[in-house]
């Protein structure tokens, strides 16, 4: 029994790491611009498909697809921003719908280019078991868990400590005042979209090397990321990590102790519970205090 629980916790932790990676890009844009990019999941998926294309076309390690994926996904992310910046009023709501529209376009583009077949890496190393005493995981999961932690640390530093990070938050808080401080709002916002593109790229390659991809996946990725972002509270990066791991562990424990059919249910209940107890998310409220 204890083996069962231990493995379950470990799986949940690693799953949480991958959730965090997917959520991070969304959280960065939400935290800095109060914009929820509903096309984020599609950007992640795009990166995953580029990894697939590179691997199957050139017969090389999917990790080597990262440079190409970075270029393509960042351009796509910047394009998303380009459209968002054209919104004249009600940015919060309209950006939601706009990015949703972009998501539809991307999903169908992926469907047209790569068809509805499912894909997954054929690289054996990624899928091999990594055994730690009585605990098992896939090599790729562990690898990207570490990548996720590193990116998370970088993202946190950028947002909380760097001049640019502060500038984006300032723009979100009061655009006119930010201009007075010498901040070019468009430029700073563009940078956070580029960053989101970078994060989406890593998330996509991780997804491809440890999971199964198909064109319809984008929306559910966005929803997961969205949930974690909200759990985290106002774009808090430590919150993303904690929220994602919490979700991963709760889901995996639900399966172990009860049934996998209820995995989504407990995830959602957890989400509602956190929201009702801490309306600003796990890390949103504590920042308010001095």
């Amino acid at each position: 029994m204890s083996d069962l629980i231990l493995q379950s916790l470990f799986s949940g932790l690693l799953t949480g790491g991958s959730y965090a990676l997917i959520a991070l890009g969304l959280a960065v844009v939400f935290g800095t611009m109060k914009i929820i990019n509903l096309a984020h999941g599609e950007l992640v998926l795009l990166a995953a498909y580029i990894a697939y294309m590179t691997e199957s076309g050139l017969k090389i390690n999917p990790l080597l697809a990262i440079p190409l994926a970075l270029v393509v996904v960042c351009i796509a992310s910047v394009l998303v921003y380009f459209f968002v910046s054209k919104i004249k009023k009600d940015r919060e709501l309209n950006s939601l719908l706009l990015t949703y529209g972009i998501g539809i376009v991307l999903t169908n583009a992926i469907l047209l280019i790569w068809k509805s077949d499912i894909h997954s890496t054929s690289n054996a190393w990624f899928q091999e078991a990594f055994v730690l005493g009585s605990l098992y995981s896939m090599n790729s999961e562990l690898l990207f868990f570490i990548v996720s932690l590193v990116l998370m640390l970088g993202g946190w530093w950028w947002l909380a400590k760097s001049w640019h990070g502060r500038a984006v938050r300032a723009v979100a808080s009061n655009r006119d005042a930010a201009k007075l401080m010498g901040i070019n709002p468009q430029w700073t916002e563009l940078i956070s979209f580029v960053l989101a593109g970078v994060l989406a790229t890593f998330a996509g390659v991780a997804l491809y090397s440890s999971g199964v991809i198909q064109p319809a996946l984008g929306e559910s990725l966005t929803v997961k990321a969205f949930i974690i972002t909200v759990l985290a509270g106002a774009g808090s990066i430590p919150g993303v990590l904690v929220g994602a791991i919490l979700l991963g562990v709760v889901e995996s424990l639900t399966i172990t102790l009860y049934s996998s059919a209820l995995q989504e249910l407990t995830g959602m209940l957890l989400f509602l519970l956190v929201l009702f107890v801490l309306p600003n998310g796990l890390f949103g409220a504590s920042r308010r205090r001095g």
């Binding site: 309209n94 706009l98 539809i104 376009v105 169908n108 047209l112 969205f226 249910l265 509602l272 309306p279």
Partner: protein, 319 residues
């Protein structure tokens, strides 16, 4: 005001008589019209919640699903006649929305997502409670709309008349709420809740009642759909498309206007099915996406205000 009554007097006979006369024999056209009105009805309820309640809901599917299951089960298991069951379906959705009252404390995306979570929870519950709901197998042979005075409402034209009447009633209710002082207070609350409360507005109650009204409307539409399609299963009844397409439709038509959501639903659905689908058989939703993007950038207020503007300008030139 006069203009409005004029429009009503022209529109009513066109909708109730001319449409069935023109398209009644074309089952395909009629089923497109019915489907688009179904979406339009949800879009209207969504816009009511968004416009008056100030809440963006990503979970209308929750109400739709509850309404459809409630009505279907009442007719199947308790033998209730269809129309009372549909009404109770709406009531059921309204009761389900009471479970969401805690979510009213949440704002913006937080609220939107909380409601989405509810929709997921209801879907899973519908899958799990096999004894009552039939589980993932769903329900089939749900009774059709009845014969009334020798007229078969179960037919395409019948279904059309029923959904049309429902939607017209909802528009009327929406209009009444909106033009009342409650509507004004609700509109004020969106961005300045505290300011509204300190002048005596019980914002929680008002918001809650908008949620309940929106849930009721959506639930009734869901109930109608169950008796129209005669079949239900959880993934379908609680499917995200009941949330997403109405939102697109509402935005497209102009969610701040009374008729925008309806016009948007009919326009989007018809154009998509009649034109885009023929142009690009697979992946035509892509054009919908493009349309949505362009609409928000070039005319965020939606189609109806855009047309109204054009119309005004034209009459101006002529005058």
């Amino acid at each position: 005001m006069k203009q409005r009554t004029l429009i009503c007097m022209v529109a009513a006979p066109v909708l109730y008589l001319l449409v069935p006369l023109l398209f009644g024999s074309n089952l395909y056209m009629m089923s497109l019209v019915v489907a688009s009105l179904t979406i339009g009805g949800i879009a209207l309820a969504w816009a009511l919640l968004g416009n008056l309640g100030g809440m963006v809901s990503f979970g209308q599917a929750a109400f739709f699903g509850v309404g459809s299951y409630a009505s279907a089960l009442l007719t199947l298991k308790f033998g209730l006649p269809v129309f009372p069951a549909m009404l109770l379906g709406g009531v059921g959705a309204a009761i389900a929305s009471l479970a969401m009252l805690p979510a009213l404390r949440l704002k913006g995306p937080y609220f939107a997502l909380a409601i989405l979570a509810y929709a997921q929870i209801f879907r899973i519950l519908a899958t799990q409670f096999q004894d009552i709901t039939g589980g993932s197998g769903g329900l089939s042979n749900i009774p059709q709309l009845p014969n009334v005075l020798g007229f078969d409402l179960g037919s395409k034209v019948g279904g059309y008349l029923v959904i049309l009447t429902m939607v017209v009633a909802f528009v009327w209710a929406y209009h009444l709420i909106r033009k009342s002082y409650y509507g004004l207070a609700l509109r004020a609350m969106h961005e300045s809740e505290d300011a509204t409360r300190v002048v005596g507005v019980n914002s929680t109650l008002l918001k809650a009642s908008m949620l309940v009204v929106s849930a009721f409307m959506t639930g009734m539409i869901g109930a109608f759909n169950a008796h129209y399609i005669n079949f239900l299963e959880p993934d379908y009844a609680f499917g995200s498309s009941w949330t997403v397409i109405p939102i697109i439709a509402a935005i497209f038509g102009g969610y701040r206007t009374l008729l925008g959501p309806l016009v948007g639903a009919v326009a989007v659905y018809m154009i998509d099915q009649l034109i885009f689908k023929n142009l690009i058989p697979t992946g035509h939703q892509m054009i919908l996406g493009v349309l949505l993007v362009m609409m928000i950038i070039f005319s965020p207020a939606g189609l109806v205000p855009l047309l109204a503007q054009k119309f005004k300008r034209k009459t101006h030139v002529k005058a």
